[in-house]
Symmetry: C2
Subunit: 364 residues, 2 copies
């Protein structure tokens, strides 16, 4: 077998900051999910200036300013929304609060960058689409498992240069670990708050299917959810899957769960398989199970051979620099608004349509 590092598999240059110091002031507000740290790191890497932080919980604010001491602590959400210098507000609120907060941000004339899932219902989706149309502002989404994972970024570059021909199928597996339930906030276990597993975790996977197949929409063929192993938390879906057909005639399958066993060396053995007409790609994003503890593995098989590419440290995260420019230039290079919301729509629809396979009596 060939383990090639040849020119055809060379990553594009590492991204550099795209905005000058002070050119793009951002704020962080609502720190309920730890993703806010990755979101802010990404924006800072793009050259953004962190102006403010706000959360009603002083402990969350204290932890945040320890990591980002340059952030001024706002006394209220309004203090941030009233500051004309702020162009983009990043938030990782409780999932069900992300859309209402985003609408407030956009109505204040600022762009919004939310953790995924960006919303939990079709009503929220309508509200967000209306706010985007009304305000002309952006509702950007941090689909971290593609935009903030170098293996996923490299895979996108390979697909774009035709390394595997036309992508006809994407299998996207998102296993996660619950860990000690006592360390999770209450809302993690409340369906109305986290939105259900296909909405919450699944939004990553629907986004990947749309992205890698190059499609604008998809039809849900079927989906299931279940609580197989967490009877103490009946509203937690610890499993979900969905099968879709994209508008350009490819298929996708999503499989997500909260069943990662204790013995795995990381939080989840996230995999993505891209089947092309001229080859295939497998991503082992966070671990090469029982082989290497580190992640970032791209396995590419094409007409020439079998290639094990190591993405980490090679491609970086172009999304953030593109988003920073999009805010200033009113372009859509990082991710289109339609794409970001279509992934959310599919996630919510998959959750609504899902057959519940939980054993025993109806969990309501």
């Amino acid at each position: 077998m060939t383990v090639s590092e040849g020119a055809a598999y060379r990553p594009q240059p590492m991204p550099r900051p795209t905005v000058e110091p002070g050119e793009l002031v951002v704020a962080a507000a609502h720190l309920d999910h730890g993703h806010i740290y990755g979101m802010i790191e990404g924006l800072l890497g793009a050259g953004a200036t962190l102006g403010w932080v706000y959360d009603p919980d002083p402990a969350k604010v204290a932890a945040f300013v320890e990591r980002f001491p340059q952030a001024r602590v706002a006394r209220s959400e309004a203090e941030i929304l009233d500051d004309d210098a702020v162009r983009l507000v990043a938030g990782a609120a409780v999932t069900s609060e992300r859309a209402p907060f985003g609408v407030r941000v956009m109505d204040a004339g600022k762009d919004y960058f939310t953790d995924k899932a960006p919303l939990v219902s079709l009503d929220q989706l309508d509200d967000v689409r209306a706010a985007v149309a009304r305000t002309g502002r952006r509702y950007a989404v941090y689909y971290s498992e593609r935009i903030h994972v170098e293996a996923a970024v490299l895979a996108g570059q390979l697909v774009e240069r035709g390394a595997i021909g036309r992508v006809v199928q994407v299998m996207s597996m998102g296993p996660h670990r619950v860990g000690d339930p006592a360390t999770r906030p209450d809302w993690f276990f409340e369906r109305a708050s986290y939105g259900g597993i296909l909405c919450d975790i699944g939004s990553h996977n629907f986004e990947q299917i749309l992205h890698y197949t190059g499609s604008r929409d998809a039809e849900l063929v079927g989906s299931t959810i279940a609580n197989y192993h967490h009877p103490d938390h009946p509203q937690l879906d610890d499993f979900g899957d969905a099968h879709v057909v994209t508008d350009n005639g490819a298929t996708g399958y999503v499989r997500v769960d909260w069943l990662t066993p204790r013995g795995l060396g990381t939080w989840g053995d996230g995999r993505t398989f891209l089947l092309g007409t001229d080859g295939y790609i497998e991503l082992r994003k966070y671990v090469n199970v029982a082989t290497e503890r580190s992640g970032g593995h791209v396995f590419l098989v094409d007409g020439d051979g079998e290639h094990h590419l190591r993405a980490d440290g090679t491609v970086g995260f172009p999304f953030f620099g593109q988003l920073a420019r999009d805010v200033l230039d009113r372009t859509e290079t990082a991710m289109t608004q339609e794409h970001a919301l279509k992934a959310a729509e599919l996630s919510v629809r998959a959750q609504i349509l899902a057959r519940d396979l939980t054993p025993g009596p109806d969990r309501g």
Copy 2:
């Protein structure tokens, strides 16, 4: 990470012959698919005696007797069916001929062992079920990708001893290589003969889903087929997938294709993922892509760690010895008749229900 070879992961003893020389006489007839060699090897390993071989094509017979010189060459199918000494007839006919031949075998008072897919239509399924009931004979099926692959056998042993808890989901991927179309017989490209990809290759995968989830039936949620990359052979499905919910509340996803790129070191990177409530198993059956050319890899992650088990040479193929005893003892230890035909039924139904995603005009 732990790469354990401890007692919990020790395979069961290697199977030994279960019948005495001369105790079970078998015959081979209709050699259209090369699987007949594996079927006969398996039976010989169980202690069976090879009595006859028949095929209308002398070249196929000549090749067969070169490998198995002990086989007497029959002048007709009837010569085998008329020999009372023969208890079991193995066949790998053109797929659409497997059921009619099997009914003739059973009506002659013998058990039948056919290559997969065992049948191509619901009418054939009815005929087979009626013949089984009428004759009391067996219609056994060579689902080679589980029963003749040590990684798959070891996975079954691990599941049986509870290594990953309850199996709640099975993903079964069966990529295959077409190779040079000129080396394939015409029937390979004729839908009415090979049955469609979900029937043909897919039967392996439906069988694995039923087996590993321990279910007796499953409901098809959706399925697709396509010819993405073989316009010269419009009746070839080079892709198929299907999503099922089993009668015990698990799910399964099948993905099969004829898109294996030239660069892969073997004919297909067959994978199976078993998701359990207490761990998971991944099979890399034929290659550890870009890592090891050999197959037989079982990756097990449980409460204790990540384990890379090597199945080849450790568990053998108990199916054949069990089948040999079943023929003599009229038991059902190798595989129940219901299970073998249910997998076939799901395959045929998935094919019938499949949405055709082939680009361009309807291929009929």
